[in-house]
């Protein structure tokens, strides 16, 4: 994050400040604090009410044997759920799948989105049309999109038809979603396809805030396109970069809908993700306590990753 927060103004030389001015400034400072609290509190209140409290309730359930349906109230079971989790091979697979999905999707989607943004940030005919078309998948619900792609990914579906035409019949595509080695890549392609328009818009917003005069100055220096990108565009997108990175990462870690609709975690657990496992365990299998434990462990892991991410991006600044 770009913490350009104002540095606490260092105290001016004592002699220069009269007591009267100091108290008036202290009063102003206090007013500012109170106003700030007033402005933050509605949002903070809502976040506490509708995220923090339910999440803490969920985490509390991780230490119990709570079930979705049960005649008896939940009992405190200490770390039992976590011990079970450590021996659960599916959890490790899901973790690995989730992280590898994120590792591929974050750079791929972020990069492609930037390319798209640059492509439609030019002054050519029909940019608005292209922007809208690239944004199309984003406005279509993920459930609908997943169903459509399931049809496309079939052995005799359109994706393979296309591959076959493109290679003059030399290559016959696999049955994408039923092959353990192609199922995850197939979901990755579809997810990027669906989400990239969203981040194109964010990059666009960032591009638009880069002052024109910087480009004009660069042009006057006779800079090549690459130099201009490297020295004007890229630094100008610093704040946007952080935002794009964080949003894609968080979305990638929450991968669920595509898996639930397209593969149910299969074939052979190749697409099982942590959130999918938590939902399946908590709802279909009615093991609320265990599902909460999965969520809690996952929360801690993602928090750690984001802290590392933040630490790394900060160091470069």
């Amino acid at each position: 994050m770009t913490t350009t927060m104002p540095k606490r103004s260092s105290p001016p030389p004592a002699a220069a400040v009269t007591p009267a001015r100091r108290t008036s400034r202290m009063r102003a400072r206090r007013r500012e604090s109170i106003a700030a609290l007033g402005m933050v509190s509605p949002a903070v209140f809502l976040l506490v009410m509708f995220i923090v409290i339910p999440v803490v309730l969920t985490f509390a359930l991780a230490f119990t044997n709570a079930r979705l349906i049960s005649p008896t109230p939940a009992r405190f079971t200490g770390l039992q759920n976590f011990r079970t989790l450590l021996d659960d091979p599916l959890f490790y697979k899901s973790l690995r799948n989730t992280f590898s999905f994120a590792t591929v999707v974050v750079p791929l989607q972020g990069g492609l989105a930037l390319v798209l943004a640059l492509l439609v940030n030019a002054k050519v005919k029909g940019v608005n049309f292209f922007r809208t078309v690239y944004f199309l998948p984003v406005v279509t619900s993920m459930v609908v999109v997943s169903i459509l792609w399931t049809l496309l990914y079939q052995k005799t579906g359109l994706v393979n038809e296309f591959i076959s035409h493109l290679t003059l019949g030399q290559v016959q595509g696999p049955d994408w979603l039923t092959n353990p080695s192609t199922a995850m890549p197939a979901i990755i392609v579809m997810s990027v396809w669906q989400g990239v328009g969203f981040h194109m818009v964010i990059w666009l917003a960032g591009l638009q805030t880069i002052p024109q005069d910087l480009y004009e100055a660069a042009d006057m220096d006779g800079a090549t396109r690459w130099v201009r990108f490297r020295h004007v565009t890229w630094p100008g997108l610093k704040a946007t970069r952080t935002f794009v990175l964080i949003t894609i990462t968080i979305n990638a870690f929450a991968l669920f809908t595509q898996v639930a609709v397209m593969t149910q975690g299969g074939p052979l657990d190749a697409t099982s993700t942590v959130v999918y496992q938590a939902v399946r365990t908590g709802y279909s299998q009615q093991q609320t306590g265990y599902a909460s434990a999965i969520s809690l462990v996952f929360f801690v892991l993602v928090l750690a990753v984001s802290l590392v991410q933040r630490f790394l991006t900060r160091e470069k600044d």
């Binding site: 913490t3 350009t4 927060m5 102003a28 400072r29 604090s33 106003a35 700030a36 609290l37 402005m39 933050v40 949002a43 903070v44 809502l46 976040l47 995220i51 339910p54 999440v55 309730l57 798209l116 492509l119 030019a122 050519v124 608005n128 049309f129 292209f130 922007r131 690239y134 944004f135 199309l136 998948p137 406005v139 279509t140 619900s141 993920m142 459930v143 609908v144 169903i147 459509l148 005799t156 579906g157 359109l158 969203f198 917003a205 638009q208 880069i210 002052p211 024109q212 480009y215 004009e216 042009d219 964080i246 968080i250 938590a278 709802y283 609320t288 909460s292 993602v302 928090l303 984001s306």
Partner: protein, 305 residues
Amino acid sequence: MTSVSPAPARPGRRPRRPSPRRIALQAARIALALFFSFPIVFMLVSSFKPDEQIFGDLDGIKAFLPVGHLSLDNYTGVFERVPAMRFLLNSLVISAITVALSIFINSLAAFALSRMRWRGKKIVLTAVIATLIVPFETFALPMVWWVNQLPWLQLEGGRLVVTEGWLDTYQVQILPFIGNALFIFLFHQYFQSIPKELDEAAVIDGASWFGIYWRIVMPLSGPAIATVAILAFLPMWNQYLWPLMVVQSEDLRPVMVGIDYFFQLNPSWGEIMAYSSMITVPVLALFVSFQRAFVNSIASSGVKG
């Protein structure tokens, strides 16, 4: 911060005749447009075909072409099966209110976090961002229990009555989704690009903090507002898991729950395509209009120093 020219990037050399480079770029744009639109075209085209034909055409290019028995039967079917207009209206109301409140409340918080000096704001900002990490699916169930404990004021026969439990209401579909860390973060980033000297000048002129927020910063934040509007609208429009857990009356249901109406023993895929097309169009219209608005607002504000 001099430029007011609406010309986006790459001013200067502007060849009259299309160069090979420009042709290549345009070709890339068109190819990408095909890539991003083909499933949607499939959806639209299929919405006019009978079920059997959708699956018959699936193996070839015919899937994208409006050929065969085309009719509006699927659309008629949709209206027979689902109170579609009611659902659309519900979603529109729920999404619009959420978007409006979301823009106001989150930008207000972001303003305090990015432009004001107070103790503890770093911690608040970090904590706020941490709330992004937990996917909603994982805590939805305790949330149902929780919102059912909450009180609400209701006007009954001219008197205010306290009722318990939010199930089966509009507010339960709106209020939980207003506070949003992502939007706070987005506004926060954007507000930092607005010169702070503006605030200082206003303070000297005796403006209140809210006045600065309302009259100086927000009017300069068109792009951020438009972005948040789009980003807030989408998930609200696509709400599925939450309403099916907390809404029991058909009159209060949003559009995405309607999709489930079509998944019977033998789903009617034509109707599913028709309904999906119907619920996609309003969002697209919204995007097109906001997209224009926010490009224009950027061009005219010439923000950033």
